[in-house]
């Protein structure tokens, strides 16, 4: 098909092209990316940065567990009620937070985009079925559902990630769907159809790249949601008890009277880390929102 290549010309997503210039104009997005980068480095080099084994019960002197030690040169943030090093737990917690956030976001984006594309382009009964399912999921209370699933199956990271993905894809799918509804009426899609492109080809080659930035936007928000959900579920005792995570640290601190003892160095840092990581997602998405919808963001 010699004419097809000319026909296939369509507006570039513009995502890559204006990316660099946009970074300079978007201090929020740059700040968000910097936070992401810091945490990724922390996660990669956790073994080198942490001063102790996060699971090791530390002793001082003759068989006395090193409980509630104040911050010092050896324990930057002191120790927990169980005699474990808070700073090392904090550093290692980055790994599980990123792992949960990124995997959940990945599934949210993949499922949401795929179903949104199918629903929007195919219409008809496919659209109706997918939209009805998303209606039902939006009728399920988010955190209670995650708790019930965790309780009825084996609590753990996999269950958490799966239930977060299951609960969050409808939001992405709906946005993608409405975008596809307008895209499929555009000239270049019409042209592809006329030149005999197959339906899968139109959906995945012609339309999918156009909605990719939007999907990425919802993905960066899903990272935050997943991390918050993991923290809440762990705090309520539905997380993976063997993991080292910020949510479990907070639960440990709460259950061991860190609040009434005023052990700030134990329960403030994990929360701050969660705030920073979730905030990074918001900042990045706000920045890219301006890139995607320039009219809104002036």
């Amino acid at each position: 098909m010699p004419g097809a290549s000319a026909m296939r010309r369509r507006p570039l997503p513009g995502f890559v092209g204006s990316g660099l210039g946009f970074l300079r104009k978007q201090p929020f997005a740059v700040a968000g990316l910097a936070i992401y980068l810091t945490f990724i480095l922390l996660a990669i080099f956790a073994d080198q940065i942490a001063t102790h084994d996060p699971r090791e019960i530390l002793f001082r002197g003759a068989y006395r567990v090193a409980r509630y030690l104040p911050p010092s040169a050896t324990h930057y943030l002191g120790t927990t009620a169980g005699g474990r090093d808070v700073f090392s737990q904090l550093v290692h917690g980055t790994r599980s937070a990123l792992q949960v956030g990124v995997t959940a976001a990945f599934f949210v984006v993949v499922i949401g985009t795929l179903l949104g594309l199918l629903s929007g382009y195919l219409g008809g009964w496919v659209d109706r079925v997918i939209m009805r399912i998303s209606d039902i999921i939006l009728g399920l209370p988010f955190l209670p559902f995650v708790l019930v699933i965790s309780a009825l199956t084996r609590p753990g990271t996999t269950t958490l990630v799966a239930s977060v993905a299951l609960m969050l894809w409808p939001n992405t799918a709906r946005v993608i769907r409405s975008q596809v509804l307008s895209l499929r009426e555009r000239g270049w899609v019409e042209a592809a159809r006329v030149t005999g492109c197959s339906t899968p080809r139109i959906i995945f080659v012609h339309i999918a790249p156009q909605v990719a930035p939007l999907a990425a936007l919802y993905g960066s928000i899903a990272v935050g949601w997943a991390i918050l959900t993991e923290a809440s579920a762990s705090f309520l005792g539905f997380g993976d008890p063997n993991a080292i995570s910020w949510g479990l640290m907070l639960q440990d601190a709460f259950a061991n009277q860190a609040l009434s003892r005023g052990v700030w160095t134990w329960f403030v840092p994990p929360g701050l880390c969660i705030v920073l990581l979730v905030l990074a997602g918001f900042l990045v998405s706000r920045g890219s929102e301006k890139l995607l919808f320039p009219k809104l963001g002036d």
Binding site: G139, P144, L250, A253, I274, V275, L279
Partner: protein, 325 residues
């Protein structure tokens, strides 16, 4: 009117689907629901009796029909552990959750709407540079952690507020209403409600600001400015009214999702509400109670989603209910 009926039918469908899903979830999951309830000393016969009394010996389709029938009659079964009707336990917890949610939402939206409206005027100022990230931070913080901070600061360090519960232990009241309006209850309510409000205010604030910015460019605002109306009059009488639309919808949606989302706040403050009932029922493998609490939370959510849709259509005649999806 036809659209109205359609929206109600839609909500009924979602409720039915949620109820069915809940049924399947609790019946088909691996593990015997009575296992946690029965001790080893129970004989096989006692076990069979017990299964029968909970209707668990019948085939699944029959169980399902019985389940749907009793749901419609408001019968949620009997709690495994407390041996009381589930509905009674839930209805005892409901006022606490409602009081917490509604108080927090009203504070959050009153603050968010006013602050958001004025931030729309503060474009490009230092105030905006501080306020927007601050609002984002409160939305990024885990609710229970905000609660822990306030608790350790205002309750444990300064001793201003009580740290747990909804009433002083052992206090008695002539009626539920007397309890909910007692100074003691309100005193216990302040800290959890403030925490929840702090978490919730970011959404109305950002939403109000964004819609105000849109509205402020509309012709009728330019007209009002040309008439020489004061800034306050323009904000409150002309712009805010029109910008309130999405905020009102968000309020209804927030009411629905907070009922279930309160789970963590209720745990931090040992607040005896629906969320706590759910968590302890799930932890104690009290399936009828967990199932009932889940369905009640879901029902409030579905109902408020419907209210939000109808409210949106009612406030903005340009939108038809059907056209939104």
């Amino acid at each position: 009117m036809k659209r109205f009926a359609g929206r109600i039918a839609h909500a009924a469908f979602v409720l039915w689907a949620v109820a069915t899903l809940t049924f399947l979830l609790f019946r088909l999951m691996p593990g015997d629901p009575t296992l946690n309830f029965l001790s080893d000393s129970f004989s096989e016969e006692m076990r069979a009796d017990l299964l029968e009394s909970f209707g668990l010996d019948k085939p699944l389709p029959e169980q399902y029909l019985i389940y749907l029938g009793s749901l419609l009659q408001g019968d949620l079964g009997v709690s495994f552990l407390q041996k009381r009707p589930v509905l009674d336990i839930l209805l005892a917890a409901l006022p606490n959750t409602a009081a917490l949610t509604i108080t927090a939402l009203v504070i959050a939206y009153a603050f968010g709407i006013i602050a958001g409206a004025f931030l729309a005027f503060a474009r490009g100022t230092v105030t905006e540079g501080i306020a927007i990230p601050a609002a984002l931070i409160t939305r990024a913080a885990p609710e229970f952690w905000l609660g822990m901070l306030l608790l350790s600061w205002l309750s444990f360090a300064w001793g201003i507020f009580p740290s747990a519960g909804a009433n002083v232990a052992g206090s008695e009241f002539t009626s539920e209403w007397a309890r909910l309006t007692s100074a003691d209850f309100l005193w216990h309510l302040i800290l959890p409600a403030l925490t929840l409000a702090l978490y919730l205010q970011g959404l109305p604030l950002l939403l109000m600001r964004a819609t105000m910015l849109e509205v402020l460019n509309d012709e009728f605002i330019v007209m009002a400015r040309m008439k020489g109306l004061s800034r306050w009059a323009i904000v409150m009488r002309h712009a805010a009214r029109n910008a309130l639309l999405p905020v009102a919808t968000a309020f209804a949606l927030g009411l629905g999702s907070s009922f279930g989302g309160n789970v963590v706040i209720e745990t931090v403050f040992s607040w005896p509400g629906l969320g706590r009932v759910l968590v302890s029922a799930v932890q104690g493998a009290d399936y009828p109670l967990a199932q009932g609490a889940f369905i009640m939370i879901a029902a409030v959510l579905v109902l408020m989603n419907m209210v939000a849709d109808l409210l949106y259509a009612w406030l903005d005649p340009r939108v038809s209910v059907g056209a939104r999806r």
